[in-house]
Symmetry: C2
Subunit: 186 residues, 2 copies
DNA sequence: GCTCCGTTGCCTATCATAAGGTAGGTAGAG
DNA sequence: CTCTACCTACCTTATGATAGGCAACGGAGC
């Protein structure tokens, strides 16, 4: 019960830092101080791991988004909190959103994982679209033309910002890449 | 001479579709109809391959940017041509910019590769910054606040758009994610 | 023109290690 | 006495990499 969650934690960290092909069952075993066969007990195949990984990530992330919507009243503060989530995920260029990392490896993953990847983007983009719709009403974000288009653009921008921060190995690069978004909040 | 370029072609395609860990020397050998040891003749270690790959990509990409600047007179048309480059690289979600793909794997690559990755982003962003500075003069792109910030944001947006197109497996997603950019051109 | 010799580009064969995965067993808890 | 969560031991295949050989080409010297 607890070991499984721990394995997922380690696997997530590995995948986000090195990519899904960048770690092995042996790596996982070492980091959890367990034998390789025991890792296979929890996740028979690596594809099972990929599915569990993304499902948990998806659920946790959506929870956080809901909690932001429940706490923050304006579109601007919701957007800033959203950026905080991606800033934290970037970890100064050391890490990436799991979905960004898995997208690259995609072809090696089972069908259901790629479907989950698409679902994650769909759900997060939908949440963002609601934020931009709220912005049209409360005016806390400047120049909102189409909430739908803004949501897709924002999603792309924060994921790209993670890539850039990683390439440069610096948190500053992430900030620079999202500055235009921050600058639009009132 | 020719085989080497061919190997680079195949390796680039593999890396951009499956990630750098997603193909082996054996895969390369098969696709070039050559023996595995012969691939090692051209690229002793996989790290040599990664370096050759990114150096070539960097050079070719910069050439294309220069050619755009030489051909297109306005900031708007330069930006649209730039987007064309990334649209083509995305290939309907089947592929990614090499640098995006390598950024994920980064930790497993030699130091010099990560430096090249940063250099690529620096050069492309600098080119974009010049485009947005031109836009301030010719007015062909709306609402340009800071050329520097716009360049970094645009870079992130197109790279993120590739990730989204890939996750969704659709070219439409790429278009949706860059629509806000296209919409700003006059 | 012909031999000599190095270089190029490929080959076969081989290796050590790492990878994903399986078989079968065992200690402890309920 | 069964189920959970782990173990040891093992297997197969893939992977990155090396050693050593061989045919073809090309220039240098006679």
């Amino acid at each position: 019960m607890e070991t499984r969650a721990q394995l997922l934690d380690h696997a997530e960290a590995f995948a986000r830092q090195r990519g899904f092909d960048g770690f092995s069952f042996a790596d996982l075993a070492v980091s959890a101080d367990i034998r390789k066969a025991s890792v296979h007990y929890h996740f028979p195949a690596k594809s099972d791991l990929s599915i569990a990984l993304i499902d948990r990530y998806h659920a946790v992330f959506l929870d956080r988004l809901q909690s932001i919507a429940a706490t923050e009243a304006t579109a601007a503060t919701r957007l800033l909190q959203f950026l905080n989530l991606y800033r934290a995920a970037s970890d100064g260029g050391r890490s990436l959103c799991l979905c960004v990392a898995l997208s690259v490896t995609q072809t090696a993953l089972p069908e259901s994982t790629t479907a989950s990847l698409a679902a994650f983007h769909r759900d997060v983009t939908a949440w963002l679209e609601a934020v931009f719709r709220l912005a049209e009403a409360d005016g806390s974000i400047r120049n909102v033309a189409s909430p739908r288009a803004e949501a897709q653009a924002t999603m792309a921008q924060v994921e790209g910002a993670q890539i850039m921060a990683r390439a440069a190995g610096s948190a500053a690069r992430f900030e620079a890449a999202i500055a235009t978004l921050v600058g639009r909040t009132v």
